[in-house]
Amino acid sequence: MQHLTEEQLVSHYYHDGDAPFAPQHLAACDECRAQFDTLCGVLTLVDQLPIPERGDAYGDEVWTRLRWKLGSNRRRSVYGWMSIAAALVVAFIGGILWHARTQQTVTPQTVAAHNTPPVAPAAQPAAIASASKDRLLLVVVSDHLDSSERMLLEISNADAKHPLDVASESKRAGELVASNRIYRQTATRRGETRIASLLSDLEPVLVELSHAGSTLSPDEIAALQKRIDSKGLLFKVRVVSAQVGGHEAPATVPQKGMDSL
């Protein structure tokens, strides 16, 4: 009698259909039956490989770690688009300058003959550069506001009866403070008073959070929530974020603090 091969035994174990004659053979052959029982013993033992338990809050923990990464991915993506946009703007301006210079050197007589008023070559590129800077400011501020909004939400939704672990938020707030200052100064310089005002309201909260250390006490949470609430900060951030991001503002009844927007 020809015995079953190891492969055929494994196939039979997993019902792969490669050894349809295996059941009859195993019923008749003690040697193969013993081999098969040993195989079953080994694979039954493997089934006992323990899997560490993950509690009901595991999904929430994964999300907490994940959301910052999702944010940074989005930022990377925005920066990627910004780089492309900046390269295009530079190429466009370069093209205009080259064109203007070529026109001047090659056909000055033509210009004179047509008695066209002189054109300041730098005026047009400067206007384009200014417009593109405005657009870039809006894009980066939109992203900055998204990150700030997530942080404000975290604090606003926290239970003020218990301490809150904010180690990662605190670190992130420190980074946001630095960028907030730059965006506020730029917005002020460029006459974007609404954005400048919002960033100005946002800054103390971010500073406070960045100095919070790893844990916020219930009193600190309550104080921060009060500050966020009294200025209607979360809502302002959402509205301005939607506006600078080119989206519709949320359809919500205006809240306190909105009059300054």
């Binding site: 040993t38 013993g41 080994v42 490989l49 595991y58 999300w63």
Partner: protein
């Protein structure tokens, strides 16, 4: 209240609703951890795989076909992430000479006497031996075995996942089972099996 279907939540997540994606993460994290742990055999690696799985899913959400099952789609991503990690670890192990403790455990298991086997059968270390035996598998062998044995995936699918032919996938599973048998047979009693 009836739970919103994955499909409805995916649709919201695709339109940029972060809260919807959060729901998907909360629903599927535990099953993804289980498959990741079985494949990597390491708790921290499994946590990393779960995170990487959702990151990839988030980036590829627009490629998800609505006819498909989201859990199955996510499962495939988790398997690929685990495989990437195993392959990377395989390269690192080759570089550093592998985990000597695991190899020693599995090797020692093969040399036990009968008396030692009896003691081992009663020992809580049995699970350690299984874990150590699993460590003896190459990344492809471990993946193929886990997918066939624990996940019940057909051999054809396993071949596709590993990027190999069906016959090669079958042989990979055989090799994995043979290695496990060699490492664990000395400490296992045969189990009458009706399969």
């Amino acid at each position: 209240m009836e739970m919103t279907t994955d499909l409805a939540v995916v649709s919201r997540a695709r339109s940029g609703d972060a809260d919807a994606f959060r729901q998907l993460v909360e629903r599927h994290s535990k099953p993804m951890f289980r498959v990741a742990y079985r494949m990597t055999g390491n708790e921290h690696d499994a946590d990393d795989v779960v995170q990487e799985t959702f990151l990839r899913a988030y980036k590829q959400l627009r490629h998800f076909e609505e006819r498909a099952n989201f859990g199955t789609w996510l499962h495939r991503i988790a398997v690929n992430c685990s495989l990437d990690l195993l392959r990377a670890r395989g390269r690192a192990d080759k570089h550093y000479g592998g985990d000597p403790e695991s190899a020693e455990l599995a090797g020692a298991a093969a040399a036990r006497t009968d008396a030692q086997q009896d003691r081992l059968l009663m020992s809580a270390d049995m699970q350690k031996h299984v874990a150590a035996a699993m460590e003896l598998l190459s990344s492809n062998e471990r993946t193929a075995f886990v997918l066939r044995h624990f996940e019940g995936m057909p051999v054809e699918e396993i071949g596709k996942t590993l990027g190999i032919q069906v016959n090669a996938a079958k042989h990979t599973i055989f090799r994995a089972v043979r290695k496990l048998r060699e490492a664990l047979e000395p400490i296992v009693r045969s189990t009458p099996c009706n399969t």
